[in-house]
Symmetry: C2
Subunit: 172 residues, 2 copies
């Protein structure tokens, strides 16, 4: 039986920092030094972060994280794969995220997509996520995708990866 | 520790048959006899059912099923309650359903809402649903909410209820 693999969108498939920084540049005319926001959660690092996330197009126009399309296509063959995104805080983001998935990951079907508020309700075997709050409550294998907000933190039992090549090696 | 209760929207909180029949009346000038569609799934009973569900406003303007608001408010105190709705087949329905919940069940927070394609990924203790496909794959206690499409079928281990008063008695 295939193992169920739970994959996050923001910060794992979609380059959300790129979007925050694009919006920040438009707002303030400059970007913060990345080293200064390392270790801060997105909402601490970007003062208007919540406003940006509620803005139409924020999620729809995010760039794809390098290597994720090829990796997900491969993992989708071997696993019972679900894309699970915390999204109900921003209800309009859900249709945007699904459109974004359809564009960049057309082999993912609507049956494989979940939008929720908290991921503690999700049942699976392996979870790939960039947030400790999601991984810490998951009972299976946990893979921490490095993002500025989670750097400088002890992994707490999760396997840290910095790119999709490492995930493919880890799950081979 | 509170038991986790998973509650469906369509056919359990929202009167979806009422919406199908309203749209059908507008389309054809008359309604089918309910007795003739008993036992048929919605998509078999209503020839344009899929078109109706993809129509803006279909979910937003559904009536609330009698007794559900008071019952959910009570159960929300005693349980770790989640509203889980199969919705990713119709991406625009998600924001509509969340707005509908906010209007009729304002005590439910965004953290308690999940939209998915299939419910087999959901972890919980008790599930209330009108579809066998969801209940049959759930490992906890299962409550079948009677709707025309599930009448005439053997309960297959699920507890059949016909209204929210019976659910409150069952879970007391």
């Amino acid at each position: 039986m295939k193992k169920r693999l739970i994959v996050d969108i923001d910060g794992v498939l979609a380059d959300i920092y790129g979007q925050f920084r694009k919006f920040e540049l438009e707002d303030f005319g400059h970007n913060q030094d990345l080293s200064k926001i390392t270790g801060k959660l997105e909402e601490e690092a970007f003062v208007n972060g919540e406003i940006y996330m509620a803005t139409q197009g924020f999620f729809r126009h995010a760039s794809v994280i390098k290597g994720s399309v090829e990796a997900i296509e491969k993992l989708n063959q071997r696993h019972d794969l679900f894309i699970v995104s915390a999204a109900t805080k921003f209800p309009n983001s859900m249709a945007e995220k699904q459109e974004w998935l359809l564009e960049h990951f057309p082999f993912i079907t609507w049956e494989q997509i979940v939008f929720c508020g908290t991921k503690e309700i999700i049942k699976g075997d392996i979870m790939i996520d960039d947030h400790f709050k999601n991984l810490d409550k998951f009972y299976g294998q946990t893979i921490l995708f490095s993002q500025p907000h989670n750097l400088n933190r002890i992994e707490n039992g999760h396997s840290r990866v910095t790119n999709w090549k490492e995930i493919i090696e880890l799950l081979s």
